[in-house]
C-alpha cells in the first residue's frame, strides 16, 4: 500500500491571502524515509499537517484535490484514528510534551493511558522504549524541567511508545545543538530500521542526504523536485529552489568544474570517502593525470 498519495492538492489557510499549497502532486511509498526540504514558508509544515490530518481538521481552510492516506481518502478518516495511526513530532521541544505528568516515565506512558492500555502492558512498553532510546537516566526526571534536547528525546519516546507505523517529523533538530541533533537522528535511523515509514522535514541537507531514501523539494507551495535522494540532490536545478546541495556533492561539482570529476557524484560522506580514496589510489598509482 502507498503511504500517501496527493493529487493536485491546493490548500489556503483560513484568513490567509495566498495558498500554502498550490497543486501538490506527490506519492510517498511505505517503509521509507522521505525527506522534505525547501525554503521557509514553502509549505513543508502544511504538508506535514495534511498527512497528519490537522490540516484541515484543526487548521481550517480551503482544501481541494485528492489526498489519500494509506489507501483511504483523508475525509474518510476518523480524526482520532488518524492521530494514532500517524505519529508526529514537531520542532518546538517545549510544546511536544503533555506538561501534566510528573516524570518522564509517566510522560511516555501518557499516550498509552489514553488508548486504554492495561497498566502492566504500559510498564513493559515504556521500559522497552526507554531502553531503546537509552534515556534511562531521564526516567524519573520531571519532563517540565528538561533541556530542549532532552525534551525532544522524550517527545520521540512518547510517540514511539504508541507504535504507529508512520511518523511525521517536522524539523526535530531546529532548536537543538549539533550533539543533540545527532542523537535525534540516530533515533530516526533506528525507526527506519524497524521498518517505519517516516516523513521528515529537515533543513540540514547533509543529514537528509545521509538518512533519506527520497527527497522532495517544495518551492512556493509546489513540488519543485521529487525522486530518490541521489537524483534530487545532484539535480542542477536544486540551487534555484533555494536548497544548497550537501557539502560532498558541492566538492564533487567543484572537482568536475576543474576538469577532474569523480567517477560518480557522492551525496553522503561515506560515498565521498570511498570515491576520493579511489581517486587517491589512482593518482598515487598512475601518477598525476593531466586534465
Amino acid at each position: 500500500m502507498v503511504l500517501a498519495e496527493l493529487q493536485d492538492v491546493h490548500f489556503t489557510y483560513a484568513y490567509a491571502d495566498t495558498p500554502a499549497l498550490k497543486g501538490v502532486t506527490l506519492t510517498l511509498e511505505q517503509g521509507m524515509l522521505h525527506g522534505i526540504v525547501g525554503l521557509n514558508s514553502s509549505g513543508k509544515t502544511t504538508l506535514c499537517g495534511l498527512l497528519r490530518g490537522i490540516v484541515p481538521s484543526f487548521h481550517h481552510g480551503e482544501l481541494t484535490g485528492r489526498t489519500t492516506i494509506l489507501g483511504r481518502e483523508l475525509a474518510d478518516w476518523n480524526p482520532d484514528e488518524l492521530a494514532t495511526t500517524i505519529g508526529c513530532v514537531f520542532d518546538n521541544p517545549f510544546t511536544q510534551i503533555s506538561g501534566i505528568r510528573d516524570t518522564v516515565f509517566e510522560e511516555i506512558a501518557f499516550g498509552l493511558e489514553n488508548l486504554g492500555v492495561a497498566r502492566e502492558d504500559i510498564i513493559t512498553r515504556v521500559i522497552q522504549v526507554i531502553e531503546q532510546l537509552g534515556i534511562e537516566a531521564l526516567a524519573e526526571k520531571n519532563p517540565n524541567e528538561l533541556s530542549g534536547g532532552q525534551r525532544q528525546k522524550v517527545a520521540f519516546a512518547s510517540i514511539i511508545a504508541m507504535d504507529s507505523d508512520v511518523i511525521v517529523i517536522d524539523e526535530p533538530t531546529s532548536q537543538l545543538d549539533p550533539e543533540a541533533s545527532e542523537a535525534v537522528f540516530e533515533i530516526i535511523a533506528g525507526l527506519k530500521k524497524l521498518g517505519k515509514s517516516i516523513v521528515l522535514v529537515e533543513h540540514k541537507i547533509d543529514l537528509v542526504a545521509e538518512y533519506a531514501d527520497t527527497v522532495t523539494v517544495l518551492h512556493e507551495g509546489r513540488v519543485a523536485l521529487t525522486g530518490t535522494t541521489r537524483e534530487v540532490l545532484t539535480d542542477p536545478r536544486l540551487r534555484s529552489f533555494g536548497v544548497t546541495p550537501p557539502q560532498v556533492t558541492e566538492l564533487a561539482e567543484r572537482l568536475a568544474a576543474s576538469g577532474r570529476p569523480l567517477s560518480r557524484v557522492p551525496v553522503t560522506r561515506a560515498e565521498a570517502v570511498e570515491l576520493i580514496g579511489e581517486r587517491m589510489r589512482e593518482e598515487v598509482g598512475g601518477g598525476y593525470r593531466t586534465a
Binding site: 490537522i54 492521530a83 486504554g116 512518547s158
Partner: protein, 266 residues
C-alpha cells in the same frame, strides 16, 4: 542509571501510590471534605476561639503528617502578612470603647474583638487551603476525581493551569532578568516594580498563547481525544471504608452547627 534502577522506577508504578503516612494517604476527596468541614464548623461557631482552634488543629495535623517544616513557616508568613494586617485594620478603625487613643483613630475594645474574630476566620480559611495543597498533590486530586467520573479533559485543565502558573512565573523571571540586563529599572519600590512588570506581561502571555495551539496538536497525537476509556499508570490507594464515614460525619456536624446557630440553640 543502571538497568536495575529503571526496574525500580517501574516497580514504583506497580503498587498504589503512597506518600508515606496515613494522613497523606487519605483519599484526596476525604482530605478536602475534612478540611472544609472543619473550617465551616469553626466559622459557624462564631467568635475567634473556634477559628483559632481550627488554625491550630491544621498546624498540628501538618506536624503529625511530617509536613510541619514547610507548612509552619508558610503559615507564619501568612499570619504576619495577612492576619496581622486584617487585625490591625479592624482594631484601629472600629468605633467603640476607646482603649488607646492614637490621634484621630483609636484602638477600641470592639475593634480588638472584631479584629481577632475576622483575622482568625480568614486565617482558618487560608490555613485550610494551604494545608490541602501541602497534603494533596494535584495529580492525586485529579486521579481521585477521575475515579468519580470527572473527564480526563477536566483533569487536564486543572493540572495544566497549575503547571501554567509555575511556567508563567519562570518566564516572567527570565523576561524581568532580560529587562534588568537591558537597563530597565525593575528593582526599587513597589511602584517601580509594578511599572516594570506590565511590559513583561505581554511577551509572557503571548508566548503562552502561541504554545497552546501546538500543545493541543501534541496532545491529539498522544490520543488524548480518543474515546476509549483511559487507563492510569499511577494508581491511588484504595480508599479505606471509614474515610467516607469520617467525611460525612464531619459534614453533618458542620451543617448541624450552622442550623443550630440559625435556630438560636447556642
Amino acid at each position: 542509571m543502571t538497568v536495575t534502577s529503571l526496574q525500580e522506577v517501574a516497580d514504583g508504578y506497580r503498587q498504589p501510590r503512597s506518600l508515606g503516612n496515613p494522613i497523606l494517604d487519605l483519599n484526596p476527596i476525604t482530605t478536602l471534605c475534612v478540611i472544609v468541614a472543619l473550617i465551616v464548623t469553626g466559622i459557624a461557631l462564631g467568635g475567634w476561639v473556634p477559628s483559632l482552634a481550627v488554625c491550630l488543629l491544621f498546624m498540628v495535623a501538618a506536624v503529625v503528617a511530617g509536613r510541619g517544616r514547610t507548612y509552619l513557616p508558610l503559615i507564619l508568613k501568612l499570619w504576619l502578612g495577612v492576619g496581622l494586617i486584617l487585625f490591625l485594620l479592624r482594631a484601629l478603625l472600629t468605633p467603640g470603647h476607646v482603649l488607646i487613643p492614637l490621634g484621630r483613630i483609636a484602638v477600641t475594645t470592639e475593634g480588638i474583638e472584631q479584629g481577632l474574630a475576622f483575622a482568625c476566620v480568614v486565617m482558618a480559611i487560608c490555613g485550610g487551603v494551604t494545608l490541602f495543597f501541602e497534603f494533596v498533590p494535584m495529580r492525586h486530586l485529579t486521579l481521585a476525581l477521575e475515579r468519580l467520573g470527572v473527564s480526563p479533559q477536566a483533569s487536564y485543565v486543572l493540572l495544566a493551569s497549575f503547571q501554567a502558573i509555575t511556567d508563567l512565573g519562570a518566564t516572567a523571571k527570565v523576561v524581568l532578568e532580560a529587562q534588568t540586563a537591558r537597563g530597565v529599572e525593575t528593582e526599587g519600590n513597589v511602584f517601580m516594580r509594578v511599572r516594570a512588570f506590565f511590559p513583561v506581561l505581554a511577551p509572557v502571555f503571548l508566548s503562552a498563547m502561541a504554545a497552546t495551539e501546538e500543545r493541543a496538536i501534541a496532545l491529539d497525537a498522544r490520543a488524548f481525544n480518543s474515546s476509549t476509556r483511559h487507563t492510569s499508570l499511577v494508581e491511588l490507594r484504595r480508599t479505606r471504608r471509614w474515610e467516607p464515614v469520617l467525611a460525612v460525619a464531619l459534614g453533618v456536624i458542620a451543617v448541624g452547627v450552622i442550623v443550630g446557630r440559625a435556630l438560636g440553640w447556642f
